[in-house]
Point group: C2
Chain length 146, copies 2
């Protein structure tokens, strides 16, 4: 028996989606302000590739929880920006993904900005609240991806 409905504003999933969207926009603007022309989704790819140079697209997609089709298209953009390089491995179905020199420089430059962006988002929250926040995000993700 369902007891209640709620106004949109009070619904946590609404808040969740809204916060995620606001973050993406804020991040894009903050990076642009530093002359860094990448979206947060492109950044996720760049960061993961810098953590695991030579990773292939399937693994990359899995690691960042994106569809392989999305990864293909994000890589297209990053290759056009000359931040990423694709090389065929022995298995010619597979591409090894690496940062270009330019990509490496950009990642270096961006790391600090990314830290600042994250910090800005948490202002006004205690470390206990932040702990619980992260835990809740993980739990919600788990509940919704099972």
């Amino acid at each position: 028996m369902e007891k209640f409905d709620a106004e949109l504003e009070d619904v946590y999933v609404f808040k969740l989606v809204r916060a995620a969207q606001a973050f993406k926009q804020y991040a894009y603007d903050a990076l642009a302000k530093k002359g860094i022309d990448v979206t947060s989704d492109q950044w996720v790819v760049l960061k993961k590739v810098s953590e695991e140079p030579g990773i292939n697209q399937r693994e990359l997609a899995k690691a960042i929880y994106k569809d392989p089709a999305s990864v293909t298209r994000i890589l297209d953009v990053l290759i056009k920006k000359e931040l990423i390089e694709k090389r065929q491995g022995k298995d010619r179905r597979i591409y090894e993904i690496r940062l270009s020199l330019r990509g490496e420089k950009l990642v270096e430059k961006t790391l600090g900005v990314a830290v600042d962006i994250r910090k800005s988002g948490l202002e006004g929250l205690s470390s206990e609240e932040i702990q619980i926040f992260k835990k809740a995000l993980d739990q919600v993700f788990k509940n919704y991806s099972g």
Copy 2:
């Protein structure tokens, strides 16, 4: 001076975006399973219009934190599905948005499912944690939309 960087997996904004995405997918599938063919974004529009029949697109966009252009396109889809009706008001720049009969029935049918979907996402969290979670989502949103 930035002290540290972190692996993607540990970054809360990554968790945030990932949870939001997982929710959208889960919601879509759960609704589809009940024979309800709307995305969570379409649902947000339908819900808001049911809360404020006759609302115009500008107000609607503001209320649900979407770009007016996005609202136009979501409405296009909902009109094609015959769930929404647009009527011109006296001011002929403005459209009054209303649910169709079919839209009203769908909203009725969907409300309960939506409650269940939200509940599923919170399993394993205490009400204190949920309170803090909501507060954190609001704070992050505020920090990122200022």
